[in-house]
Amino acid sequence: MPEDWENGGFGLYIHWPFCQAKCPYCDFNSHVVAQIDQRAWADAYVSEIARIGAETEGRVLRSVFFGGGTPSLMDPDVVDAILTKIRATWPIANDIEVTLEANPTSVEAGRFAGYRDAGVNRVSMGVQALNDADLKALGRLHSASEAMQAFDIARSVFDRVSFDLIYARQGQTLKDWEAELRQALGLAVDHLSLYQLTIEDGTAFGDRYAAGKLRGLPDDDVAADMYALTQGVCEDTGFAGYEVSNHARPGCESTHNKIYWKYGDYAGIGPGAHGRLTLGGTRFATEAPRAPAAWLSQVRQTGNGDLCRDVLSLDDQFAEFLLMGMRLRDGVSVARFSQLSDNILINKINGLVEIGMLEYNTETLRLSQQGYPVLNAVLRKLLED
């Protein structure tokens, strides 16, 4: 019998932890530094690839994702060194997806051709908003027109281009958002990520919010209306939502992110990177130290960038399988969750079907249109004791 992870496949995540500036809403592991020794970083990534490659020999690699931070600050030579090492380590799927997150500035667009030559075949651009005032409020360094120029370059260089927008912003009305969304869909190539602004603890927005100084955020009802509108407009334009916040033309979904959501295995390399790896029949959660300097020196000195490697119990796996998998429009496979859990879920499922939150048949469990916006409540119910 195949191992559970094989249902999701195997991918590799590379974390580049540096940004030119920290955005006030971002709680990702990103750092602003004056100087980066790109060569040293390339060596560390290559060393980590070798280490993990030895443990996962023979697996077919379906995707590589350069995330951050701002990976478009990487020297194309570094990207090339990493991808060269990857090709030498694993058998590569014919349709491998290699994505790099990019900021839409002219400087970074200048490196796009270099990334393509190294093997990147998809970019995901952090456009975030289509007007200058809101970009400024979000702490972005680019203007709307600069973003459009960078976006045009990306389209000419790569076959596959995605971009992110943040909505439910301060002072944004339902009408404002609809206009912006329609404009974005007009530009879109094959994929869009549309995130509602979330105020996270430990960010500048989080501090301002706690102090009562972040005003004009839409309330939950307006946010719910915005979410429903987004789903409808995108679907009508051929960009159906395939995940809570992700939309694609049919067949253009992100291979890499689907590995996460289908609860496959993924190696995480770089500061603060997380991984899920099934080794010798046991599923592990791995995590690397968050501070860039700490990770780099650890790799150099010990040859292992992981901070910890924890065994995931069957209950943990089941919770993760559900909390990732239920994000997908297609839901999760009933056969898989029956194997991961001996919990009797059927009463909970039936109760949620009864109130219109879930759709359930012998093969698939998924959220209804109505259940989608309250996914967390559905998960709490499914996973309660």
Binding site: Y13, G67, Y195, Q196, L197, T198, D220, D221, A223, A224, Y227, V244, S245, N257, I259, Y260, Y266, G268, G272, A273, H274, G275, R276, A285, E287, D316, A319, E320, L323, M324, R327, G351, L352, I355, M357, G371, Y372, P373, V374, L375, N376, A377, V378, L379, R380, K381, L383, E384, D385
Partner: protein
């Protein structure tokens, strides 16, 4: 033994914070009863809760040796009484055990309602009363005005009031002299059969029950066999002594003396305050008058937040009950709250003290249901049922009528808040009995239903008067009224723990306030939830809690799985603080907050 003429027994009557404990400490200290190194503030209040709240729950006593200015040695016995209305009966017994009282009034504040209640108890007990004006060291002290107020309000001569600062020690010597010269010596016959009053009792884990006694006639000695007249039980005295304030053995206790005995008694329940103790053989035939067993007047349900702690709760309640004959309990099952106990208390303070002790000393989180009074339900067949729990209300077709307990409430309040106080009392179905002035303070007396007071009357009174009102009450009896049981339905299911007895005329307002409050207290669910208040089958108030519309994490990628899983685990733990009712989760604080009315 000490000659009766050289004994003085007294209590101190005072309002909270007027300096009773400080004065007691100073009397003890100035007579070298306690070495300075053993002195700690408020020597006599031994429980944490007593110290924190500045109240005395159990009677304490101390024996002080004092050589007066006339050169004679005296024994002074101070009984420090509970100062709260809930313990009025205990106060009355302590008062009967002594011959005089010091009436301590804060000279910066004046007479308060509680002072009144206790001073009337002292007058009832035929005490000689010595007024003491305390805190004269403070700039706001107004001795003449307060002395005049004592004369006006209480009607005793205050011209010779002793001026004291318990804090600095001014007037302490004068107070001791007044005790010797103004208070009467006890009377009693050493050769008569033993007759002693059980003043109070409490449990000690080493000695068993310790019984505080006042000997009226006869003598008690170690190894004597004594009989408790209310239940006929006989015990051999293991240990006999006095408090200084530590226990000190003595050979005997004779007439006029106050001390303790232990007699291998396991339960405080077996020792009833006010009981008469006599010899097993040739004892007195005539018991002291005024004895009555304690009657709980306020009831509520106590449930463990974590249902697995039920046995711990049982254990805690049984231990506390051993030491408190006035606290009753029986097991109760609630559909909403699971297993718990229906408990009876002497009053709201008693309830709070017991609840605090369970939470603190036994570390059990509790859900407390709405306090309820004891209703008398008269059935059509003539039978009368005492209703302790609205959930037990019999079928209305068999009920003829209901009666509820009423109280006489005395409130002293500065003039500027009088209007608000009158409105509060009217709103609570009060009937004004009296309204008089003492200086700039009004004294209002109201006849009120106890059930209107047990919810949050005292909190409301404090808030409308910014804390300047003082309040006391006594039970007056039962009266018929138009009372109904109001049920609360959440998602069409009755929530038993929220049902309550209300007056018919107040039902709509109560019901409305309740459903509005619950709407705020219950989190949104995935479906809309009707919240209704009903009398029988008739809905009198309704709100609808709309469905949750958005609760979804915008971003969740490979690096988020661990964090989101741990968050779900944490929420799972938080959910233990919710009670599931049908399909609805109700947070426990809803059970408490929903019952606090703002109007």
């Amino acid at each position: 033994m000490t000659d009766l003429s050289h004994i003085r027994n007294f209590s101190i009557v005072a309002h909270i914070d007027h300096g009773k404990s400080t004065l007691a400490d100073r009397l003890i200290q100035s007579t070298n009863t306690v070495a300075d190194r053993d002195m700690k503030a408020q020597l006599l209040d031994s429980m944490d809760i007593e110290r924190e709240r500045g109240i005395t729950i159990k009677a304490n006593t101390v024996r002080i040796d004092y050589t007066a200015d006339n050169g004679e040695a005296y024994i002074l016995n101070l009984i420090d009484t509970p100062g709260h209305v809930d313990f009025a009966y205990e106060v009355s017994r302590s008062m009967r055990a002594v011959e005089g009282s010091l009436l301590v009034v804060d000279s910066t504040q004046g007479v308060e309602a509680q002072t009144l209640a206790n001073v009337y108890q002292a007058i009832d007990a035929d005490h000689e009363i010595v007024p003491v004006l305390n805190k004269i060291d403070l700039p706001a002290s107004e001795c003449d005005r307060v002395a005049e107020q004592i004369e006006d309000v209480i009607g005793i001569d205050a011209s010779g009031a002793i001026r004291v600062s318990a804090k600095t020690g001014i007037g302490i010597h004068e107070t001791l002299e007044a005790i010797v010269n103004l208070l009467p010596a006890p009377k009693g016959d050493r050769d008569a059969p033993l007759k002693a009053m059980l003043v109070d009792s409490w449990y000690d884990s080493y000695l068993g029950v310790i019984v505080l006694v006042r000997v009226i006639d006869g003598v008690m000695k170690k190894n004597d066999r004594v009989k408790f007249m209310s239940n006929g039980t006989v015990h051999g005295i293991d240990k006999i002594g006095v408090f200084r304030p530590q226990m000190q053995d003595v050979a005997e206790l004779g007439p006029g003396e106050i001390g303790f005995i232990t007699a291998s008694i396991k339960q405080v329940r077996d020792t009833r305050v006010g009981d008469t103790i006599t010899s097993e053989r040739k004892g007195t035939e005539v018991a002291l008058d005024g004895f009555k067993p304690a009657q709980p007047v306020v009831f509520c349900g106590l449930f463990p937040v974590d249902s697995s702690e039920f046995e711990d709760l049982r254990d805690a309640i049984e231990k506390l009950a051993l030491n408190d004959a006035s606290f009753s309990h029986e097991m109760e099952t609630s559909a909403a709250l699971g297993f718990g106990f229906r408990c009876g208390f002497l009053g709201l303070l008693h309830l709070e003290v017991i609840r605090d002790r369970i939470e603190r000393e036994y570390d059990i989180d509790l859900i407390t249901t709405a306090p309820s009074v004891v209703y008398h339900v008269y059935m059509r067949d003539g039978e009368m049922i005492e209703l302790h729990n609205p959930a037990d209300m019999p079928d209305l077709t068999h009920v003829d009528h209901l009666e509820e307990p009423r109280i006489k409430a005395t409130i002293l309040v500065p003039d500027e808040y009088l209007g608000d106080v009158l409105k509060l009392c009217q709103d609570r179905r009060g009937v004004q009995l009296d309204l008089t002035y003492a200086g700039s303070r009004a004294m209002v007396v109201y006849d009120l239903p106890l059930n209107e007071v047990v919810f949050d009357f005292y909190d409301r009174l404090k808030s409308v008067t910014k804390g300047y009102a003082s309040f006391d009450y006594q039970m007056t009896g039962y009266q018929q009224d138009n009372l109904v049981k109001m049920s609360v339905l959440v998602n069409d299911e009755p929530v038993d723990a929220l049902s309550m007895m209300v007056h018919r005329d107040r039902a709509e307002a109560r019901g409305r306030a309740m459903v509005e409050k619950l709407k705020d207290l219950i989190p949104r669910h995935m479906f809309k939830i009707p919240i209704q208040a009903a009398i029988g089958g008739k809905v009198i108030a309704r709100e609808t809690l709309s469905a949750l519309r958005k609760d979804v994490t915008a971003k969740c990628y490979g690096g988020d799985a661990t964090r989101k899983r741990k968050l779900l685990d944490k929420q799972k733990a938080g959910k233990k603080k919710m009670r599931q009712f049908g399909k609805v989760d109700i947070p426990q604080e809803a059970f408490i907050s929903a019952l606090k009315m703002d109007s």
